[in-house]
């Protein structure tokens, strides 16, 4: 890899490792504080030595809550990246390989892509009860069309190549061709795409929770914390600022890793 790409990659990985550490170690780092512990006497305090991020409107410790929020964000990012990539790849491979289904599947995918992801996820959350798993499911559905399109396009490119044609002619079963010959050749671009989907999912979860259509308010997520700080953003900006900053840094980390992966594995990808 070029030196130019090495620094951002290292930075991105360092950010993600740090976030993962904070998320796992939240109960230890947050002291003996429960992220849900309400202390009415300590409402909306600014940052101080004892409480580095201050407290929210109910007197809950923001540092602890932001650390716990990392758990939600990383889980959503990873969960959606895996689920959307897996489902999208299967759909895209079927569309790209089985000519008869291509038209129908791609019309539906086009239709799904016409609904902006945020809107699609918000709409889905309206009918589902707010829970972590439902949020992951809704965002997965919103991100899935992008993967399906990429997978289909990649399959169509690869299936025209000689070695795949040879495998088809030699009578190899379709599943063997798809899994042995095609999947390994499109895996790199899907992997790169998965990282960007992870970044987008983390952002989307925060948006959903911020507007009140995401994770239940009882679970501290960055979007939820920001939603609580919304009404007092002029006078108590710290409630918004810390989760927003963590969100920003985390997404930046994922994007840096994604960019580096793309430069390395898929330089033609835009």
């Amino acid at each position: 890899m070029s030196r130019r790409g090495a620094v951002p990659l290292a930075l991105g990985l360092a950010i993600l490792l740090a976030m993962a550490f904070l998320a796992v170690a939240a109960p230890l780092l947050g002291g003996d504080r429960d992220p849900g512990l309400i202390l009415p006497a300590e409402r909306a305090l600014g940052p101080s030595f004892a409480r580095p991020f201050g407290t929210d409107l109910l007197g809950r410790d923001l540092f602890t809550r932001v650390l716990y929020g990392a758990r939600v964000s990383l889980l959503v990012g990873l969960g959606v990246a895996l689920a959307a990539t897996a489902a999208g790849t299967i759909i895209g491979m079927i569309a790209g390989y089985v000519r008869g289904l291509d038209g129908v599947i791609m019309r539906l995918i086009d239709g799904l892509m016409s609904i902006p992801p945020v809107l699609l996820a918000v709409t889905l959350m309206a009918v589902m009860r707010g829970s972590l798993w439902n949020v992951i499911a809704a965002i997965t559905l919103a991100e899935l069309p992008r993967v399906a399109r990429l997978a289909r396009a990649s399959v169509q490119t690869v299936r025209g190549q000689i070695f795949v044609q040879a495998a088809i002619v030699s009578g190899a079963p379709t599943t063997t061709i798809l899994l042995r010959h095609i999947l390994p050749n499109i895996a790199a671009s899907l992997f790169v795409q998965a990282s960007f989907i992870g970044a987008s999912a983390i952002m989307l979860e925060a948006v959903l929770s911020f507007i009140g259509a995401g994770i239940p308010p009882t679970i501290p997520s960055w979007g939820n914390i920001m939603a609580e700080g919304r009404s007092l953003w002029q006078v108590k900006p710290h409630i918004l600022a810390f989760p927003a900053l963590f969100l920003c840094v985390t997404v930046l980390g994922v994007n840096l890793v994604g960019d580096a992966l793309r430069d390395r594995f898929d330089p033609r990808g835009a």
């Binding site: 019309r107 239709g111 016409s114 699609l120 709409t123 953003w233 927003a244 840096l256």
Partner: protein, 313 residues
Amino acid sequence: MLGYAIRRIAAAVPVAFCVALLVFALLYLAPGDPAAVMAGDAASPADIEKLRIALGLDRPFLERFLHWLAGLAHGDLGTSVFTGLPVSMLIGQRVLATAMLMLTAMLISGAIGIPAGTLAACRPGGIADRAVLIGGVLGFSVPVFLIGYLLAYLFAYRLGWFAVQGFTSPFVDFVGFLRTIILPAATLAFAYAALIARITRATMLEILAQDHIRTARAKGLDEAYIVIVHGLSNAATPILTIMGMGAAVLLGGAVVTETVFGIPGLGRLTVDAVLRRDYPVIQGVTLFLAFLFVAINLLIDLLCAAIDPRVRQ
């Protein structure tokens, strides 16, 4: 050109139908009973059943879908459960603010993104190039809330240059309009401008290396003329196409931006409807915005065909 326009519009019809089907089916298939959610936790099973019948939720899928579709054909998007007003009327009241927000954001992003990306491509490794690369990463990483609140805090709350909240129609008070629209539009433009700058840079790098640019230079043309007329005319199609796809970023961002800046637009309408579980409104607004997205991309395809004769073939 006319032939292409007709073919392209005809191709948009099945997509629009699929969108309608999906919007309807998603709310139908999603695990959850709209009637139960709407009625609230305190409602008795009998109340829920009554609501279900009132909403027509007891009818089979196809019948409900066709009924809904027939309504759509007449511009009837249903009636808001919460306000009792027609959804089309609610959309009509809100559409101006969102349209102005998106249009202003598009103007700002284009005015920044296209020159920045072009400069970056003209001088690889230069200041503009670095700015576009860094801006590209930041644009996709900094959440809309953060930019929105940051801009609002600095320029509206602290400096008082702009309005903190609300929206004024440009047809009522243009200065007031600018005072309310610039910050949210700039917020929304951030990611979109990064996207445009990035694609402009990549496309222009490719085009400026093409043979016909060398021909243009051999003719003794001005370098600025070559870059703008010969370069950008070739780059227009990919840039516009990405702008069209990226309109999803704008539409999604509008939901957040309108919340942050208290703008009574379609994004805010969606959020309120979601919080109130006002299904007809959710369905109507989602469909409207999806159609808007399809229409924007249709328009952009026609624009590309007008610019690039090869597309028309």
